[in-house]
């Protein structure tokens, strides 16, 4: 097993002093392996454990949180941690090697920590949530696999390992979304998620191949160096590779139009949604764009407008869909898609830090919102907001934390979402994408609006469901509070221009990397822009409250503003699902059937036909020629040549004369052929 030392560590670092991070870096791979091991242990032995394997999963996550916190602390302040370790798993000829390993730098540390922190909260919550559910053991195994794959992905020093983690995440999402696979719609949702991602993965795989072959290496830091040096080899294919990687990211990060899997993915148990939408899975695409940022920044600049376009459509168009959704999880799902649009737009526009910061804050408040929604669903046994209402009184903890999350998402000062969204707006403005910036502001308005609607419909007015809802047990509410803290406070780590003692700021954490990227981050608050963003949020909240606050929430026809074309369009999700289903239908039905038909009737037809032809030919030869003679000809011949045929008409079955005739005929034929033809 070859262990490559870290050749890239000598590269220039943006951090003042880069340390290797000691054992925490040297053994950081444990964080990648831990949850995977937990997965195996739970699969094999989980059923015999007291908590059906939950303890193992939670234990692994807790370990990761401790470890990643240590790394985070080491990375804070004045010094950064930069380390990489790769084990060769195969050399495949042509100078290419495949490696597994881990990378420790600002970006990966941030991701390790987010996955561990959110993951732990979700896992603990899930332990309560899943009480009495079917297949708890399997659930925790898959959750561990989910987190583990995500860590393999974010810890990857190279593109190949990234693919492994990437698809591992896809697999885990398939397992978890389809947790209740007895119902066909659930298993279909699982398939849809996996499949949509698989489509996107074509882009990722080809992109990786292009980069790998062109550079002779799959290494991220080689890619970054090549991009920074404006490599002549990489130049011509950079745009293609960049767009292909982006296509892959569109799948995982649910960018329009590959977002279609995400709302359906709500079929999974709510903790899954929380994990998927906050820390794992959907952030993978953003992470990939961040990891390969130098490629877009330096070489594939032509790809950026396309990416921004996709991001912008996503952030606004998908937000609109949240306006008409009735299922509370779907509201949050569309909200996630929309927020991912923000992140993607930001990164594509050059806002490396801005995009990742939003990822960071979003992870907390969105996990919080989902877990809150899960708590509500747990209480009312329905996903539909028409079955909720007035829960403020029944579920105080859930209510309070949910509102905090909603406000953070809406971008209300001084909650975390405000700061991260503001940074995105600032970046867009700085990079000159003014129109996009204003769309983003409008998107903020939409966000605030639907969150106000969701809160109003869920927690205010009268309870419209059945039974008596109760607050969830502490094992579920505590994680809510735990997440509420960073959801509210996380913004302070990156207030422009502010560098906290000890902690430093988010920007400086991220700046620990081997190759400088030349991204922009705001040095000071743009007060005007901040005000505009805040105004949009407040306006949205206010309007949402006016439209859906009590007593409107209790009306059955509460979506009063059914704009003619737009409303049906939104209700039908822009008909994209129809299009996708149509495409699948075309493949499954006419195309597959045609191929099968070709197989059975054309290719096999030829085969069987040749067989039948041989049989027919044989029949003809045997029956027509061999046995019955060619009566006329032979008779004539035998009559004339042998002198026997004319007189003796068929003794017994009497073919002797024919045979004799044929014999002579054969001779003549041979003679003709030999003497004249050849």
């Amino acid at each position: 097993m070859g262990v490559s030392a870290s050749p890239h560590l000598a590269a220039e670092s943006a951090a003042a002093v880069a340390t290797t991070g000691g054992i925490f870096s040297e053994w950081a791979g444990l964080m990648l392996i831990g949850p995977i091991l937990a997965f195996l242990v739970i699969v094999l032995f989980g059923k015999r454990m007291r908590h059906q394997g939950a303890e193992v999963a939670i234990g692994a996550m807790a370990f990761n949180l401790v470890w990643s916190s240590a790394l985070l602390l080491l990375n804070m302040g004045d010094s950064g941690v930069l380390y990489e370790r790769s084990l060769e798993i195969a050399s495949v000829g042509g100078g290419l090697v495949f490696e597994l390993g881990w990378i420790v730098d600002g970006l990966s540390i941030m991701m390790y920590w987010v996955v561990a922190a959110v993951g732990l909260a979700v896992f603990i919550y899930a332990h309560g949530y899943m009480k009495g559910e079917v297949r708890v053991t399997f659930f925790f195994a898959a959750l561990s696999l989910f987190a583990g794959s995500m860590l393999v992905l974010v810890g990857s020093p190279n593109l190949v390992q990234l693919i492994i983690g990437w698809e591992g995440v896809g697999l885990a999402s398939y397992l978890l979304i389809g947790h209740h696979w007895e119902l066909k719609e659930n298993s279909s949702a699982a398939m849809k998620a996996f499949y949509t991602n698989k489509v996107a993965d074509v882009g990722l795989v080809i992109g990786v191949i292009i980069i790998g072959i062109t550079l002779g290496s799959f290494h991220f830091w080689d890619l970054a160096s090549a991009a920074a040096e404006h490599s002549a080899a990489l130049g011509p294919v950079a745009v293609a590779a960049g767009l292909l990687l982006f296509f892959g990211a569109m799948g995982k990060s649910a960018q329009f139009p590959l977002h279609i899997w995400l709302p359906d993915a709500m079929a999974g148990p709510t903790p899954v949604s929380a994990l998927m939408h906050a820390a794992t899975m959907v952030t993978a695409g953003i992470y990939l764009m961040a990891r390969t940022f130098p490629l877009y920044q330096e070489l594939a600049t032509a790809a950026r407008p396309w990416m921004i376009a996709a991001g912008t459509v996503t952030l606004f168009g998908m937000g609109l869909l949240a306006l008409v959704a009735d299922d509370i999880k779907r509201v949050l799902a569309y909200s996630t898609v929309s927020q991912l649009g923000y992140m993607m737009t930001a990164v594509a526009a050059g806002g490396y830090t801005a995009g990742l910061f939003h990822l960071f804050t979003h992870a907390f408040f969105k996990a919080l919102l989902f877990l809150g929604a899960g708590s509500v669903i747990h209480a009312v046994h329905s996903n539909n907001m028409s079955d909720m209402g007035g829960l403020r009184r029944h579920m105080p903890d859930t209510y309070r934390t949910f509102v905090m999350g909603a406000l953070a998402l809406a971008g209300v000062f001084p909650l975390s979402g405000f700061w991260s969204k503001d940074e995105i707006l600032a970046t867009l403005g700085y990079e000159g994408y003014t129109v996009v910036m204003w769309i983003a502001v409008a998107g903020a308005f939409v966000t605030a609006f639907y969150m106000a609607r969701a809160v109003a419909l869920t927690f205010f007015g009268e309870f419209r469901g059945h039974g008596e809802p109760h607050e969830s047990p502490p094992i579920m509410t505590r994680p809510l509070w735990a997440l509420a803290v960073p959801a509210v406070l996380a913004g302070v780590v990156n207030i422009p221009g502010l560098k906290l003692p000890w902690i430093g700021n988010f920007t400086s954490w991220l700046s620990v990397r081997s190759v400088p990227m030349g991204d922009h981050h705001a040095e000071a608050i743009d007060l005007g822009l901040a005000a505009a963003g805040l105004a949009a949020a407040v306006a949205g909240l206010w309007l949402g409250w006016v439209a859906f606050g009590p007593p409107a929430a209790d009306r059955t026809d509460r979506d009063r503003v059914e704009v003619p074309v737009l409303y049906p369009l939104l209700r039908q999700k822009y008909y994209l699902d129809h299009a996708a289903l149509g495409l699948v239908w075309v493949i499954r039905q006419p195309a597959a059937r045609a191929v099968n038909w070709v197989n059975d009737y054309v290719i096999d037809g030829v085969v069987n036909g040749v067989g039948a032809l041989c049989q027919r030919l044989a029949g003809l030869l045997y029956g027509g020629v061999d046995q019955h003679g060619i009566d006329g000809v032979v008779h004539g011949l035998s009559w004339g040549t042998s002198g026997m045929g004319g007189m003796i008409r068929r003794i017994q079955s009497g073919r002797v004369q024919q045979y004799a005739g044929l014999l002579v005929a054969g001779l003549l034929l041979l003679a003709v052929v030999v003497l004249f033809v050849l």
Partner: protein
């Protein structure tokens, strides 16, 4: 006239003696003791092997009667083959003839006469000896084919065989007389030299002579289009006779053909090359396709033997095409003959054994044979699949050398013939496999035929056993067979 070397003709003398003893003893033996006749015939054949082996070990060549009668490696090898084939046929015959209980003496007498003829044939080096020997081989068979006198089919078989045989013999004789007239020579060597010195290689009369002779041989080896008698005759004759017909008589035809073509007419490739190419191609194709339609085992084997004749003709055509392909072609044909003789006799032995138990030669009636008689089933599979040419059964090597002989020239004629042969090999597999399928894959009938064997079955089992061992051993170590080919190929001048 040179001195007669008794060792050289000892094999023939032994067979002739056995023949006479059989004739004499048969007169005195009571009907129920007639099996002694069979035993004597078997002993005679076995004894005849002794001088053959002695000569083979000594390695000397003998030439008599002014070079008309020669005992060389070629002759020895083929004498051995004929003896072994004759021996196996005798073994196969015993129980069959015994159970019919009449004319046993005459049966063995005729069989030994034919064997004697074919042994003389191997040494024949001029047209007269060759003709006499060939007719001595074939003549008794006309009678043997009609052995079951009470059976109309048998009579018809014999009659057809006879009429066509006479016709083709006449044509062949005409061809030989033309050849003699043209060259003034009877010995092969003389003819060869006369043709080359006289520059007659492209004489049309020579062509006519060659073609007429080929017709005769075509009949003997039952190549298309001179094969029409074969299926009817095979089906009508007693199965052991059929076995003999399909092996020894065919072998005799090929041996005569090898001698005439390679020794007397190597220069006339322009005539026999294309003719044999065509005969090979047509034989394979027509016979294989016809065999597809057969539901009767013996008839199927008849067409199979026609097709195999086609395969055996392929090396001739190859020999004509390639510059120095003659020895290659000769060797290949001999190897094919040797392997074919054993596996085909094995196949007949199984068919006879199975036929006696099942009471039918319809393939459909053989269904499930493998389930109630695995021993026969395995044998059947081995011999039929060996005929199909599947490794590691001996048949593969026959096909292999056949392909090798024709591909030695890379010209299109050789390649096309190889391709035709290859396709035919695939077609042939289908009907061989059909028999195997019936025996192994199909459900046995509700009433499994009882094993009601009468008469001695030991000899039949012995024949099968010998053939099985040869087929398997030669299949794995084909070097054993190349010995024959190498020995024979030395004949080519």
């Amino acid at each position: 006239m040179t001195r007669i070397d008794w060792l050289a003709i000892a094999p023939e003398v032994v067979v002739a003696a056995a023949l006479l003893v059989v004739l004499a003893v048969d007169l005195f033996l009571p009907r129920e003791r007639k099996y002694w006749v069979a035993a004597l015939a078997v002993v005679g054949t076995t004894l005849a092997m002794v001088p053959v082996i002695l000569m083979a070990v000594s390695g000397d060549n003998y030439s008599m009667f002014g070079g008309s009668y020669v005992v060389d490696d070629f002759a020895l090898v083929l004498k051995g083959v004929f003896l072994v084939a004759g021996y196996l046929v005798l073994l196969i015959s015993v129980s069959y003839i015994e159970s019919d209980r009449y004319y046993q003496g005459e049966y063995y007498l005729l069989l030994l006469s034919s064997l004697l003829g074919s042994m003389v044939l191997t040494s024949a080096r001029d047209l007269v000896v060759l003709f006499v020997a060939l007719e001595l081989t074939t003549g008794p068979l006309f009678l043997l084919a009609g052995w079951r006198k009470g059976d109309l089919r048998s009579n018809e078989a014999s009659l057809k065989f006879f009429i066509i045989g006479v016709l083709s013999t006449g044509l062949m004789l005409y061809g030989m007389s033309l050849l003699f007239g043209l060259t003034g020579e009877l010995s092969f060597e003389g003819i060869r030299e006369a043709i080359s010195t006289g520059g007659m290689a492209s004489e049309p009369v020579l062509g006519l002579a060659v073609l007429l002779i080929l017709v005769g041989f075509g009949f003997k080896v039952s190549a298309v289009p001179f094969h029409f008698w074969a299926p009817d005759t095979y089906q009508g004759s007693p199965p052991p006779v059929t076995a003999y017909l399909s092996v020894s008589s065919k072998l005799a035809g090929f041996v005569a053909m090898l001698a005439v073509i390679y020794l007397a007419l190597p220069a006339a490739t322009d005539f026999w090359g294309p003719a044999l190419w065509l005969m090979a191609a047509v034989s394979m194709t027509v016979a294989n396709l016809s065999a597809l339609r057969q539901s009767h085992l013996i008839r199927l084997l008849a067409y199979s033997s026609v097709a195999q004749a086609g395969f055996m003709l392929v090396p001739f055509a190859g020999g004509a095409i390639a510059e120095n392909g003659l020895s290659e072609g000769l060797g290949a044909t001999v190897i094919y003959l040797v392997i074919y003789a054993v596996m085909n006799l094995g196949a007949f032995a199984v068919v006879i054994a199975g036929g006696r138990r099942i009471g039918s030669y319809e393939i459909a009636d053989w269904r499930g044979l493998g389930s109630y008689s695995p021993r026969l089933g395995v044998m059947l599979a081995v011999f039929f699949l060996s005929l199909a040419g599947l490794p590691p059964l001996a048949g593969w090597f026959a096909k292999f050398v056949m392909f090798r002989a024709v591909l030695i020239s890379t010209g299109p004629a050789g390649v096309w013939l190889a391709v035709i042969a290859a396709v035919n090999a695939v077609v042939a597999f289908y009907y061989y496999a059909r028999v195997v399928k019936s025996a192994w894959f199909d459900q046995a009938p509700d009433e499994i035929p009882e094993d009601t064997e009468t008469g001695p079955t030991g000899p039949l089992s012995l024949a099968m056993g010998i053939a099985l061992v040869v087929v398997l051993v030669v299949g794995v170590f084909p070097g054993l067979a190349t010995f024959f080919g190498d020995a024979a190929a030395a004949l080519v001048p």
